[in-house]
Symmetry: C2
Subunit: 185 residues, 2 copies
DNA sequence: AAGGATGGCTAATGGAATTAGCTTTACGGC
DNA sequence: GCCGTAAAGCTAATTCCATTAGCCATCCTT
């Protein structure tokens, strides 16, 4: 029996491939094992159980998203940075809808996930620093940004909008709304 | 064996009670049967299968939400109606977070669900009629409203915001952002 | 009071997650 | 180069859930 050369990250890779190709509902240990070329119980050598695997997928997505947002704001500030971050957010979801949709569920509190969320939040907060907001205002603004970006993204990723028509325009108007709102808080 | 007096609606009632109490992940036919005082296979006399039950729950939630939004806008118009609708949306989710979270998944197209979505959308569109928007603008505005309300709601319902602190204020600011945006499209 | 439709049951099947315990591979220290 | 151990696989077995088949009791209509 030659070894498959699996690792926790390799298992997550397979899981990601599955949610990308067939959606979050298709994420089972059987399917992951099949794609990894291994019997199901072998996966337990790398991940604790299915819930843990889901958490790791979640974590991967948060990290990828944070990286993309981080790149997007490089060298930008103010409205320009806010627009860039919103566009980058959606572009990630458009590129990987299954992956993003796989992230939705409310997981038990996990320090790694909280850390990843924190990184994401840090990028957003840094971007909002250009506006003259006190601490509370900053939190409210960050929540508004997340709500709008996530709301649009999850609706688009899960086919929540009837027709895909003019989604670009809808999103640009939404961005405009957010930017406008930041100037009148 | 006395009859349980079940019906499709009764099964959905039990399902709703479960997602309210234990969250969407706890929605299994076993659990529903247990709560309904019946053996699992008996449920198949009332619903086709688990996927169908999920769809019915979805439908119930959409209807309840539409009813609440409909009541909220009665006798209001313009900014006032938009604010009312946004507040009603969140109030539903705050009252029934599990129920709302149970609705997220992307279901196969179902005419009943599309009809319910259509009712919801109709209320939103009617509310937006006060603004001077062409057809496309109306669609974009409705999408913006849904994205923001849903985004905030789902983040709140699934514990996506770190601390529950000042969520009221955050939401009021978000509403303000939406209303502001409607005046500058 | 009969009889069909309806609602409930038990038994059986199949798939997925998980655990236990065995075997073999890889590899670091001698 | 050999050996022992840990890691990575495997098979077998258990449990839980969804689903189907087929049986029996109950209700409603006449």
């Amino acid at each position: 029996m030659p070894r498959a050369g699996l690792s926790p990250n390799g298992v997550v890779d397979a899981a990601i491939a599955i949610v990308d190709a067939e959606g979050p509902a298709a994420l089972t240990l059987s399917a992951v094992a099949g794609r990894a070329g291994v019997q199901t119980p072998s996966l337990y050598k790398h991940v604790r159980n299915l819930a843990e695997l889901r958490r790791l997928v979640n974590l991967r997505v948060l990290d990828e998203l944070a990286e993309r947002l981080g790149e997007a704001v490089l060298g930008r500030s103010g409205d320009d940075a806010v627009r860039a971050i919103m566009r980058a957010y959606r572009s990630y979801v458009v590129d990987h809808p299954g992956r993003y949709a796989a992230m939705d569920q409310a997981p038990d509190p996990d320090p790694r996930l909280e850390a990843a969320s924190g990184r994401l939040l840090g990028i957003i907060l840094a971007t909002l620093r250009a506006y003259e907001l006190d601490d509370a205002g900053l939190v409210h603004a960050a929540r508004a940004l997340r709500s709008t970006a996530h709301g649009f993204a999850i609706l688009e990723a899960s086919g929540g909008f009837g027709l895909p028509q003019d989604l670009e325009t809808s999103y640009e108007l939404l961005i405009q709304m957010v930017v406008g709102g930041l100037h009148r808080d």
